[in-house]
């Protein structure tokens, strides 16, 4: 008899969601995390869409340590001197509060506590050394020469899945599969935040930008309001950083903070924390085999995330993949069968959910996010068009098509190239 029905490695959103799902259905669950309190070392941008969380924790909105609900969502482009932003503020977000800013170092320990309350054994402060294998099956985890066994091991290791790689369940991480996120938390009084962003004491703003002011890199940036702090950061593709070799990520985040449209927003704030983390951006191509005899892979470890340059999501994919793996384990326990065949239900469930559907729908999105014009030429083009249209300089006015034509010429873009780019962006987004 194994020691547990299931061992979950990693108390992030995916791991804790899996542990809660299984413990609620009476499985014996061990959840192990390297940090004490569990999950306290986790890091992400900080906007949580919690539709899936409601499946296992219906009262999460009242209980979880949340910062502000997203009432105002902005997306936009920054060039050297300008910002072009779509500001989407809607009553609909206020009536259906599902998006919240969170600080993971508070939220994740809370979620792990929920796993404990559901009946899971949650062990913090332990780094699992390796997976225990027998006859090609995963049978548990190994630490300090002890083996703790389980019918199934759910790998929720995060973006750098050391155990899965060492056990040969997936290849080593490739540069193209990840971006580097660098983040700062800047303390600012609730009063200042609410005044500057036109918010109430509970509402918040989340914005995502394409940085058109960097020549060589396709960098995105984010800016979120918490209760008494701002989370901001940049996301740069690892492959381009390596190729470029000159620009450091801290230079990029400094440039972002000094941008004329960002600097006044954080004026008077002090940096309280900073951190860096990898983000899965390889799409469907980076998804490993998701299950096998005695194991399933969830969350970032499975490459589940979505990015199109202006929208960046991962936590919702983590919750849902964790829940679906948990449900699969519950069914496997019912059948008494934890073989690869039985656990293939997990893949099935993912196929039927938005997790794999989104990755399939947007399988070519990297051609958009890797398109350098998206990050340099087009933001500049937009800026030129708006200058022509909105700036009275005592010159004859032009038609939009003529503005476009002269902009393209200035930026050395052929009309054909521009047209095909837009066609592909339109098709892939």
């Amino acid at each position: 008899m194994p020691d547990y029905d299931a061992i979950v490695v990693g108390a992030g959103n995916a791991g804790s969601a899996a542990a809660i799902t299984m413990a609620q259905k009476g499985l014996s669950v061990l959840l192990v995390d390297r940090s004490d309190p569990p999950g306290a070392k986790n890091l992400s941008g900080g906007v949580l869409w919690g539709n899936d969380l409601a499946r296992i924790l219906p009262k999460w909105q009242n209980e979880a340590p949340l910062e502000r609900f997203i009432q105002d969502k902005k997306i936009g482009f920054l060039t050297d001197k300008s910002s072009i932003i779509i500001d989407f503020k809607t009553k609909i977000f206020e009536e259906n509060k599902v998006g919240y800013t969170v600080l993971r170092s508070k939220f994740d320990p809370w979620l792990a506590k929920k796993a404990r309350e559901a009946g899971a054994t949650v062990i913090p402060g332990i780094t699992v050394e390796s997976l225990a294998k027998k006859d090609g099956k995963i049978i548990g985890v190994e630490e300090s020469e002890d083996i703790v066994t389980a019918s199934v091991v759910i790998l929720a290791e995060g973006i750098n899945p050391r155990l899965s790689i060492e056990a040969g369940l997936r290849g080593p991480l490739q540069d193209w599969e990840v971006s580097v996120g660098v983040k700062e938390i800047i303390k600012l009084s609730p009063q200042k935040i609410e005044d500057r962003f036109n918010l109430t004491s509970s509402s918040g703003m989340a914005s995502e930008y394409i940085l058109g002011n960097l020549e060589e890199l396709n960098v995105g940036a984010f800016f979120y309001t918490n209760k008494d702090s701002i989370s901001l950061g940049i996301v740069a593709p690892m492959e381009q950083l390596r190729e470029n070799g000159v620009t450091h990520t801290y230079d990029i985040i400094e440039q972002f903070k000094e941008h004329p449209s960002i600097a006044p927003l954080i004026d008077g704030g002090t940096v309280a924390e900073y951190g860096a983390h990898m983000i899965p951006e390889g799409g469907l191509e980076m998804v490993p085999k998701l299950y096998g005899d005695g194991y399933m892979i969830v969350g970032d470890s499975a490459g589940f995330g979505f990015s199109n340059g202006l929208v960046l999501q991962g936590m919702n994919y983590a919750f849902l993949s964790g829940i679906l793996a948990g449900e699969t384990a519950v069914e496997a326990k019912g059948k008494g069968d934890f073989s690869s065949d039985s656990l293939s239900m997990y893949r099935q469930k993912l196929e039927n959910s938005y997790v794999l559907k989104d990755l399939k729908t947007f399988k070519d999105i990297r051609k958009v996010t890797n398109n350098k014009n998206m990050y340099t030429t087009y933001p500049k083009m937009l800026e030129s068009i708006l200058l022509e249209m909105l700036w009275e300089r005592g010159q004859p006015k032009k038609k939009v098509r003529d503005i476009l034509g002269s902009c393209a010429a200035d930026l050395k873009m052929s009309k054909l190239k521009t047209a095909t780019d837009f066609y592909y962006i339109y098709r892939r987004m």
């Binding site: 061990l30 309190p37 306290a40 062990i123 332990i126 985890v141 630490e143 300090s144 002890d146």
Partner: protein, 262 residues
């Protein structure tokens, strides 16, 4: 030989790496700090574990603190301590070192006394070093402070302690309180198996219902210390350039001028 009954008195403290000084209020900002076991208390636990492995015994880790301090006990049980006891009650809150030592001594007494009680030399959040000796005085135990090496022979603890510029080896009888220096030993890590056992076993809670201590002698009420003021000491002004040996004359004349040398 009878098994040694060993206690380790520990404290959960904010991780000193995460503490900053609030530039406005000039007080310690602990809000960003993670709670950890006071570092020399980890060495004290290791000393207890080494003693147990050589001479046999049972180790109980004890702390006085809020309910969340249970994780500190579980962490040390994950390293090999047998039992955890959390002394927690609202009446114990706000204690300075006097009622802390009094309460912990009372707990040791309540648990039937110990052959040896280990403590860390000092805590990183107040650095008084009072509590260990205080416990010894309240219990009437022998004591040795700032110890980094312990042997147990013929019912005596032969301990080596740090004194300024030297070390001293002394013999103390049973029962004793021994406080252990930071880095006295290399603490073993917690293991998954032991931590699972610790979480299964859980910890024992002791409140003042059991102890029945006079509320006037514990917590804030029992604390003779009153903090009147807190000041931040400005950074010492550093001499921007170190004078070279050829300027020795000048240095000496400045020292004479300032009355440092005659």
């Amino acid at each position: 030989m009878k098994m040694l009954k060993i206690a380790v008195m520990i404290k959960q403290v904010p991780d000193s790496q995460d503490i900053s000084i609030d530039p406005v209020t000039k007080t310690l900002n602990r809000s960003m700090a993670r709670n950890v076991v006071n570092p020399p208390d980890v060495n004290a636990t290791e000393a207890a574990l080494e003693l147990k492995s050589k001479y046999g015994g049972e180790i109980t880790v004890i702390t006085m603190g809020p309910p969340m301090a249970d994780t500190a006990l579980l962490e040390l049980m994950g390293r090999g301590a047998d039992n955890g006891v959390l002394v927690t009650d609202r009446v114990f809150a706000g204690a300075d070192t006097w009622p802390t030592a009094f309460t912990l001594a009372s707990v040791a007494d309540y648990l039937g006394g110990f052959d040896v009680i280990f403590c860390g030399e000092e805590t990183t959040d107040s650095s008084t070093g009072h509590v260990g000796p205080g416990i010894a005085e309240f219990l009437g135990y022998e004591q040795a402070t700032y110890v980094h090496k312990i042997e147990f022979q013929d019912g005596y603890f032969i301990v080596t302690r740090d004194i300024e510029g030297a070390e001293e080896t002394i013999k103390v009888g049973k029962p004793a309180v021994i406080t252990i220096t930071l880095n006295a030993n290399e603490p073993r890590n917690p293991t998954l198996k032991r931590k699972i056992e610790a979480y299964k076993k859980g910890i024992r809670l002791i409140t003042n219902k059991e102890l029945q201590l006079d509320p006037a002698c514990v917590g804030l009420k029992g604390s003779p210390t009153i903090v009147k003021d807190m000041k931040t000491v400005p950074d010492p002004v550093k001499n921007p350039s170190k004078p070279g040996i050829e300027e020795l004359d000048k240095v000496v004349s400045v020292l004479i001028e300032k009355g440092v040398v005659k």
